[in-house]
């Protein structure tokens, strides 16, 4: 399938020049890092000072979902854009589902693992307020469970139906609507009221988790090479 995706090999002279240039660039960068001395103090003091107003106790979550919410909003938007881009175009046939597997070990493993993964994902989402964890970790874990289920061939996640597509957009929608709703009260986009910040962050993260998991499952499904269809040959 990928036999023609090989670009032309660069001529030897050009390869040598490029290699030398890359080596020189790397050496210069390393020299800069070594000679520049210790880094300037970061923003940990500022973050720690404002942490009590953020609604969460984990500084990374506070930065992601309160202090720099725009970054995370745009990140969720990037995921949605990529999901739309990899979705099969209307009218194009969906990739055929995998044949249901008769592998009892795989099926038994999934029956055991998927419920546990769902619980651990919910835990990771919850613990993000206090310790490393959060929407993306939980979403990635749930997506892993989704991929496991989809490789049995017993279910196919096609994302052709409107509700399924709505799930993909749920995270971005919740994020934007919440940001706008708090702006009605506080006057600033993304300026959560301090008392409600923790609940709002958990609410946004829960919606984002579902969308992230769905998007990653979609990305996996759209990248599985289609089985060679014998019947559609010329």
């Amino acid at each position: 399938m990928f036999h023609k995706l090989d670009g032309a090999k660069l001529p030897l002279g050009l390869r040598l020049i490029c290699s030398a240039a890359i080596a020189a660039l790397t050496a210069v960068l390393i020299a800069i890092v070594i000679l520049s001395g210790p880094a300037a103090p970061g923003l940990q003091a500022e973050v720690a000072a404002q942490l009590a107003r953020s609604g969460v106790d984990n500084p990374v979550t506070a930065v992601l979902l309160n202090f720099r919410s725009y970054d995370t909003l745009l990140e969720v938007a990037v995921l949605l854009v990529v999901a739309v881009a990899t979705m099969p175009a209307p009218g194009r046939r969906l990739r055929p589902a995998l044949a249901p597997t008769g592998d009892m070990v795989l099926i038994g493993l999934i029956d055991l693992v998927v419920p546990v993964v769902v619980v651990v994902g919910a835990y990771l989402l919850w613990v993000g307020a206090y310790a490393p964890g959060g929407a993306f970790q939980a979403g990635a874990l749930l997506a892993g469970a989704g991929v496991l289920v989809s490789i049995t061939g017993r279910f196919q996640f096609s994302f052709g139906a409107l509700p399924a597509r709505a799930i993909l957009a749920l995270g971005l929608l919740t994020f934007t609507v919440t940001a706008a709703a708090v702006a009605l009260q506080t006057g600033v986009f993304f300026q959560y009221p301090t008392a409600a910040a923790g609940v709002l962050i958990l609410f946004i993260e829960a919606a984002a988790t579902i969308s992230i998991a769905a998007t990653l499952v979609l990305l996996y499904g759209s990248l599985v090479p289609p089985a060679r269809e014998q019947e559609s040959g010329p």
């Binding site: 023609k4 995706l5 890092v33 970061g42 923003l43 940990q44 930065v63 992601l64 720099r68 990248l223």
Partner: protein, 100 residues
């Protein structure tokens, strides 16, 4: 300090390795992998920059790296789906040439 330096230098080395792969290696899948390696190098550099020996680490680079990982995954998926489509189109073209 030394530990941060090791991480920073390794990050830059990974960036260089990735850049080499991006420019020199001809196959498109390997180029996509190379861009990912470059990204990992940048993430290592950022995490090392946020490390504060003997104190609380700077959470801002950590958050940036988390965001960056997700965007890198999304970008890789987009690139791979484009490659899949190119492969399909070329296969269809080859089929048509083989059986006119």
């Amino acid at each position: 300090m030394t530990q941060d330096l090791i991480y920073s230098v390794c990050g830059i080395a990974l960036f260089g390795i990735g850049l080499y792969g991006l420019i020199i290696v001809p196959h498109i899948l390997q180029k996509i992998l190379a861009v990912n390696i470059m990204g990992v190098g940048v993430f290592m550099l950022l995490v090392a920059a946020g490390h504060n020996p003997g104190g609380v680490s700077d959470p801002v680079p950590h958050a940036m790296v988390l965001t960056g990982i997700v965007v890198a995954v999304a970008g890789t998926a987009l690139a791979l789906s484009l490659v899949c489509r190119i492969g399909e189109l070329q296969r269809d073209g080859a089929d048509e040439e083989a059986a006119p």
